[in-house]
């Protein structure tokens, strides 16, 4: 037996999965509350205690982990034009698993700088200017950051003609700097991979210790990546395959959590219909969006504000009285798991609203324009109508009996033909909560990891 222990230090729960790599089987799953504010190891030990006896004392070939504890990886991104370099920087940070606290564009104002200091990000990503383009603004922003009180690492990914000077200015101000390739070297050209890789290294080298997670590294080999990165990696592996093990093709992963709803799509999303012209910044092949206002616990009240009572009740089977105070209570007691059929029903209704809205924001859209030669259709973002597979992950997809129905709520609707959501994908749920583990295993054990994912994803007819 060749065993692996995969741990996720989540914002609310620490989850562990014991896997037999040789047999490609999941042996056990356990979870306990995350205890990052006192000692991260307490919660981990509690979860380990819930494993079957023989797995508590077993010898593991690897112990890998991801983390979104202690607020996740909080980043602030700065660019020049909101729709160009600032948006490119935001997308790169999201793809690296970050929680983007805010995005600034143009020259930072005194108020913005004050806000930036108060937000205490883990990393600042400073972009701006294409290669050989505008140097003035990124240099000015470097001077402002150099004189600021921020102490976190600053990752420089802007105009290469100004990058060295930007780094010198920041170093002279006593800041920790890292230099990488421009995130938008030309207008409408995205270059997110070098930034993502650098962020991951900073996460391993600095952020783990800064967040009080270092103690966990006595037990695990390393906290390799933020949890969303692990899920995105699993999605990439599932889509693209590895070696002789074929991938599934283009897919979307819907990750509904307590605080946020993340959507990951793997696919180019090019226009499918003839005569549609694509505009705007290109989309990354592996794209992640995070909806910070859509979560089943911390944001239960926000979902009510966004969707309204009528919409939530439309997805519920029970009458669900006193919605506002109940959701308020849920947002205060975030560790509460549904107990009764009515609780499950309320979670399902909330998740339906969150998933529907998150998919609409993630998917591209069509704008119809009339010109002298007739009507034109312009596509912004990815066309996901042809996506072949849609996978749901997160607690609700483990515990709810109608989890497949939840995914159906996110699909294309003829009433909204310009929202390019998936039309007829095969539906799966991550019923054993293994996607993060697959992402962690992806580097060293990619083929077994892929087969485990395929084996344990539950298919819905």
């Amino acid at each position: 037996m060749s065993l692996a222990l995969l741990i996720d230090f989540g914002s609310t729960f620490t989850k562990i999965l014991a896997v037999d790599l040789a047999a490609e089987e999941i042996l056990a799953y356990a979870q306990s509350c995350t205890t990052v504010e006192t000692d991260i190891m307490v919660g981990l030990r509690r979860a380990l205690d819930l494993l079957p006896a023989h797995l508590k004392t077993a010898s593991y070939e690897c112990r890998l982990s991801s983390s979104s504890a202690a607020g996740g990886l909080g980043m602030i991104t700065i660019g020049l034009i909101p729709e160009l370099s600032a948006e490119a920087a935001r997308r790169a940070a999201l793809g690296a698993g970050a929680k983007v606290l805010t995005v600034y564009s143009f020259r930072l104002s005194a108020r913005e700088l004050e806000e930036l200091e108060a937000l205490k990000p883990d990393i600042v990503l400073l972009a701006g200017g294409t290669d050989g383009g505008n140097e003035e603004v990124i240099l000015d922003n470097a001077r402002l950051l150099a004189a600021s009180r921020i102490r976190c690492p600053i990752l420089i990914a802007g105009n290469k003609a100004a990058a060295d000077e930007v780094q010198s200015i920041l170093c002279a101000g006593g800041k920790i700097t890292l230099l990488t390739d421009n995130v938008m070297p030309e207008v409408n050209v995205l270059n997110v991979e070098p930034v993502r890789e650098r962020i991951r290294r900073v996460f391993i080298e600095r952020i783990i210790a800064a967040k009080g997670l270092k103690r966990a590294e006595e037990f695990v080999e390393g906290i390799l990546m933020p949890t969303p990165t692990a899920v995105l990696r699993a999605a990439q592996l599932l889509s693209q395959g590895v070696g002789s093990e074929k991938g599934l093709g283009d897919l979307v992963v819907m990750d509904i959590g307590g605080a946020t709803t993340d959507v990951h799509s793997i696919g180019a999303g090019n226009p499918i219909q003839a005569g549609v012209v694509r505009k705007g910044l290109p989309e990354p092949l592996a794209k992640r969006t995070v909806e910070g206002d859509l979560g089943l616990r911390y944001n239960a009240g926000t979902i009510l504000k966004l969707c309204g009572e009528e919409q939530i009740l439309r997805h519920a089977r029970f009458l669900q009285k006193d919605l506002a105070p109940r959701l308020e209570k849920l947002s205060q007691c975030v560790e509460v798991l549904p107990q009764t059929a009515e609780d499950h029903d309320l979670d399902f209704a909330l998740a339906s609203c969150a998933a529907r809205m998150a998919m609409e924001r993630h998917a591209g859209s069509i704008e119809a324009l009339w010109g002298p030669q007739g009507q034109y259709h312009i596509q912004y973002g990815k066309d996901l109508t042809g996506i072949e597979h849609l996978i749901g992950t997160g607690g609700i997809f483990i515990y709810h009996r109608q989890a497949g129905d939840l995914l159906r709520k996110t699909l294309f609707s003829p009433e909204e033909p310009f929202s390019l959501r998936p039309k007829n994908p095969t539906l799966y749920t991550d019923a054993r909560y293994c996607l993060y583990a697959v992402g962690l295993l992806a580097e060293r054990y990619s083929e077994p990891a892929l087969r485990i994912a395929k084996k344990y994803l539950k298919k819905w007819d």
Partner: protein
Amino acid sequence: MKRPAVVLGVLGVDAHVVGNKIMAHALESAGFTVVNIGTFSTQQDFIRAAIETAANAILVGSLCGHGEMECRGFRESCIEAGIGGIHLVVGGNLVVGKQNWEEVEKRFLQMGFNRAYPPSISPRQVIEDLKNDLAKRKDA
């Protein structure tokens, strides 16, 4: 020496891409860095690209006859965005029907464009003018 950069595109609801591609090729061959934002571009698309790339000029193509309407306020938008002094050039089928070119040109120059060209203009002429105009600006 840094190559001069120009933002090139087709303004408005206009799918005419052939002239745009020819112009991009000619400008690149003449030593310009071309930021081609393509068809269906708005005034803001041109301006945003010009700021991000620190472009020396914006070259607007308009082939569908709606140029007069689409180009209105272009210079003012540049001023608002902080690049009020940028060299602005427009060319193509700028108006509907056969109109006296001198009058059409005058209208576009009054709108704030530095140069306006009729549909029959050769790319060579546009490039020669552009080189001279940018050199004059540099000297000034």
